[in-house]
Subunit: 340 residues, 2 copies
């Protein structure tokens, strides 16, 4: 049984490439508003759950203790482009806890944001762990470890209190018990836990509404959502999907990408959570799928900022429009199931 | 009807992503040695047919007139990384015809080879059309246009003699008539023509053996294959799949990648041509599929250089092995059809 084609890539009049995938939309009680493809197979949410991984930063009191505002909290939820202000914000977070970049265990890579990467090279600089797209998340982990008096050197290990607490929070939000064998290692070396899309969607409905969460956790989720809505550039960066969608829709939407074609999102006013996986791991596909799914549940007057992702031009090196990426028919003919 | 899963991407013990695709292997007479998935649907071969696009450079006498050796001919067949010697070779080709980079209409982009891109930025330089991965092909087109006395400014147009001749050569090699509506525009602005995988595979069997071709064309194909076997670094670059496979296997194999998950290849000694398309356009998938298909038809003693592509480790930013990309079962259980 194969997942449906959800995204088509055209060149001229021909479909050149096809992306299959799955998507689940759920309310906080676990009632599915939408399910397309295999939504019960456990999959790694990767960076799409950075906001869940950041809950402790607020709940533990570390964010308050170190005086973090919207920028630092948004960066803790971010897969950022390594632009200069992303880097300086991560550095500031570490400094607040008396640390520096040498404490980061995410590994280093050049800025994903090309102009920043070129500027760094042009200035004679080199990539550091601060440029890693996960440096804000890791700075947050270190701040939590500091605040709880835990060992710092092993903060990325599955047995460390910071990572154990994240697993518990993920189980709490999704309602899905997670088996030890469903663990793998993420790109930045922390554990990633496999969860079905249905459970992830439910988890983001809870993250978006606070329904079904303890009051401290609900408050922490609301604080992180407010930070990302206030500083969406810190969640991704210039020209990036998550940033642009949250810039245009504000607190009405929370949306976060993850590697290998994953997206999680929430529409707090609609009480819905979203989880998407492109079978092949393609980002262009996952962006199109989540945009179509969000557009379906937003009222007409707020749908416009998502329309451009449902049919995007492909331009070549000379700027000539040679094709487009579009949501396939299956995404337009969702049949609502259950609820709301 | 969906194409089979040909490549699986594991993280830990779980399959994280899946790639579907199709592959055809044919002899010069059009007898299929292998067919998996939909091999009759027209698809754009993109840069995988650069060697066919370069036939004229030899056949027209332009290569001889301008004194081109293996490096220039290999670069005309290349999607190169924009490393310094790629750039200087393209420049030399243009100079031989009395031209310079301003004649190139491929558009500009930064070198695909990251260290070269960083070195260029560090030196205060900027991307030019010479860094475009297609600059060798375009330099070749311009040399042909010069040699035939054709207009230079419109060499990328479908109506230009250079592009018309390429369409005729593609029809001649593949045996497939190409309709005008099966044309689209490639990333570098030249026409790309849609052809079924079966026809492309047959075309590369002919390219690899000369069977079924006129003697001038057969000689030109042999000259281009010899150039690529002698200078495989010029066909792609440092660390790249096409370069490494041809470095290891020499003239026993010709292999060339194209955008959106395409590969074409030939095994001259076996008399076979290959054409691959990953449904979703993923390069990691297409590399795995073509490696598996080539390995299947090579004798045991020459298979080793391809084995590493059938099961590749995925390492994260800290160099930890977190998963692997592997050929799926369907690629190992090919059932040979017909011929040889």
């Amino acid at each position: 049984m194969s997942n449906p084609v959800l995204v088509e890539v055209l060149r001229g009049a021909l479909i050149e490439s096809r992306h299959r995938g799955s998507v689940a939309v759920s309310d906080a009680g676990g009632r599915l508003a939408l399910a397309l493809g295999d939504v019960e197979r456990p999959m790694f949410p990767r960076s799409a759950i950075k906001a869940i991984q950041a809950l402790q930063l607020v709940e533990s009191g570390a964010a308050a203790r170190y005086g973090f505002g919207d920028e630092e909290l948004a960066l803790a939820c971010a897969s950022h482009g390594g632009e200069p202000e992303h880097v300086s914000t991560a550095e500031r977070m570490l400094q607040a806890a008396g640390l520096n970049a040498s404490a980061l265990k995410c590994g280093m890579h050049w800025p994903m944001h090309q102009p920043s990467s070129q500027a760094l090279a042009r200035s004679g600089g080199s990539a550091t762990a601060l440029h890693n797209n996960c440096s804000g998340k890791h700075a947050g982990f270190l701040c939590v470890a500091c605040a709880m008096g835990a060992e710092l050197g092993s903060y990325i290990e599955a047995t460390h209190p910071v990572q154990r607490e994240i697993k518990t929070a993920l189980e709490n939000l999704t309602g899905a018990p997670i088996a030890d064998e469903d663990r793998a290692i993420d790109g930045c070396s922390v554990p990633t836990w496999a969860v079905p899309l249905t459970a992830l969607a439910r988890g983001f409905a809870r993250f978006g509404t606070g329904e079904g969460l303890g009051s401290e956790r609900a408050k922490a989720a609301a604080r992180l959502r407010a930070a990302c809505a206030a500083k969406p550039w810190h969640v991704a960066g210039t020209g990036r999907f998550c940033t642009e969608v949250m810039q245009n829709l504000g607190a009405r939407v929370f949306v976060k990408t993850g590697a290998e074609g994953v997206f999680c999102a929430a529409l707090p006013e609609q009480g819905l959570g979203f989880a998407v996986k492109a079978d092949d791991g393609g980002t262009r596909a996952a962006e199109t799928i989540i945009a179509a799914a969000l557009a379906r549940f937003l009222p007409d007057e707020h749908r416009a900022p998502l329309q451009r992702y449902l049919q995007r031009p492909i331009k070549n090196w000379n700027g000539i429009e040679v094709g487009r990426i579009r949501a396939a028919e299956a995404l337009g003919s969702f049949s609502a199931r259950g609820c709301r």
